[in-house]
C-alpha cells in the first residue's frame, strides 16, 4: 500500500496513475479475452499451453461475472454510464455490480455522492433504469 496518503477506493483515493488509467468492466474484459483466446487457438494446436494461469483464471472469472454478453449491450452500458461524469473507476464498479436501487449504488460507490457533483438521487435512479433496460432487451 502506498505510504503518503491512505488508499481508499471507496473515496476514490487511488494512485494518480490508476485514477487516470482506463478501467475495464468485466463484460469488456470478457470480450477481449475471448477474442484473444480464439486467436491463440488459430495460431497453435494447444492453446491452453500458450495461456498463462493469470489469463486462464481471469477468463473464467469474467465469463461468470459479465452482466452483459453481447457486444452491443456492452457498448451501450459504457455509453449510458459515460453520461454521468463518473470517474473511470466508478463507472466500472457500477457496470460490474449492477446495483438495483439508489441506496445500493451509493453503498457500492460511496464517492459518487461526495465529489461535489450534481449527481442527485433522481439522476442515479435514471441511470440504473437505463442500465436495466439494456439488460432486459439483450
Amino acid at each position: 500500500m502506498s505510504g503518503e496518503e491512505e488508499e481508499n477506493a471507496a473515496e476514490l483515493k487511488i494512485g494518480d496513475e490508476f485514477l487516470k488509467a482506463k478501467c475495464l468492466m468485466n463484460c469488456e474484459v470478457s470480450l477481449i479475452l475471448e477474442h484473444k483466446y480464439e486467436q491463440l487457438q488459430q495460431m497453435s494446436e494447444d492453446p491452453m499451453n500458450q495461456m498463462s494461469q493469470v489469463f486462464e483464471k481471469s477468463l473464467q472469472y469474467v465469463k461468470r461475472f459479465s452482466r452483459y454478453k453481447n457486444p452491443d449491450s456492452v457498448r451501450q452500458v459504457r455509453e449510458i454510464l459515460s453520461r454521468y461524469q463518473l470517474a473511470e473507476f466508478e463507472l466500472c464498479v457500477l457496470g460490474n455490480l449492477c446495483p438495483e436501487t439508489v441506496e445500493e449504488a451509493i453503498a457500492m460507490v460511496p464517492s459518487i455522492k461526495n465529489r461535489g457533483r450534481a449527481l442527485d438521487d433522481d439522476a442515479i435512479e435514471k441511470m440504473l433504469n437505463d442500465l436495466s433496460l439494456v439488460k432486459k432487451f439483450e
Binding site: 471507496a10 483515493k13 475495464l24 468492466m25 495461456m51 489469463f55 481471469s58 461468470r64 453503498a107
Partner: protein, 174 residues
C-alpha cells in the same frame, strides 16, 4: 479492477532470430514480448498481467556487445488487474475453514474473509462446512460480494493476497 495500461519494455532477440524479412522479425518480437509478458505474472505496482492487446511501437534495435543479441524498445497496450483497498468486488468461495473462507476473484485466489469480518455468520462444521447467518449461507462455489480491507504483494511468488470483509450494506452472498 481490470485496467488498460500502456507499457514500454525492452525485448531481446537472439541473433539467430534476426531476419532480413521485416515481417518475420516483427513476428519474432511479438512472440518474445508475449512470452515475457506471460512469464512476468505480476508486479507490485501494476498488479497482474493478463494479455497484450496491441503492439503500438517498435523502436530502433540496439546491438548488445558480446552476445550479439539485439534489444528492441517496444510500446504496447495490455490488460492488467489490481485490487484496491475500499473496492467492492464479487468473488467465488473455493475453500471453507473454521476461521474463515478463501475466495477467488479475477486472477487472485488468496482472498481471505475472516469470520471476524462477517459477524452475523457462524461456522457449521461437517463434511462440507459452511457459514450461515439468519438469512443466508456461504458455501463452496457461492458468489460473495465483499469489500477489500487490505492487500499485500508477495514478491517471491509474484502474487497478491487480500483480506476482505462483509461489514457494510449490500455485502454478502449474492
Amino acid at each position: 479492477m481490470f485496467l488498460q495500461s500502456q507499457l514500454s519494455w525492452n525485448v531481446i532477440i537472439p541473433p539467430e532470430s534476426l531476419d532480413s524479412n521485416g515481417l518475420a522479425l516483427q513476428k519474432a518480437i511479438i512472440i518474445r514480448l508475449m512470452d515475457d509478458f506471460a512469464a512476468k505474472k505480476a508486479t507490485k505496482d501494476l498488479g497482474y498481467f493478463l494479455a497484450v492487446t496491441t503492439l503500438d511501437k517498435i523502436g530502433e534495435g540496439k546491438i548488445r556487445e558480446r552476445t550479439g543479441d539485439v534489444l528492441f524498445p517496444v510500446e504496447f497496450s495490455c490488460i492488467t488487474f489490481k485490487i484496491f483497498k475500499g473496492e467492492v468486488l464479487e468473488g467465488v468461495v473455493h475453500k471453507i475453514l473454521k476461521h474463515g473462507v478463501f475466495l477467488r476473484c479475477g486472477p487472485m485466489d488468496k482472498i481471505y474473509l475472516s469470520h471476524q469480518k462477517m459477524p452475523d455468520y457462524r461456522y457449521v462444521p461437517g463434511e462440507n462446512p459452511i457459514f450461515i447467518s439468519e438469512t443466508s449461507k456461504i458455501e463452496k462455489d457461492v458468489t460473495v460480494r465483499f469489500m477489500v480491507i487490505g492487500e499485500q504483494y508477495v514478491e517471491a511468488e509474484a502474487d497478491f493476497r487480500a483480506v476482505v470483509g462483509l461489514n457494510g450494506d449490500f455485502l454478502g452472498p449474492v
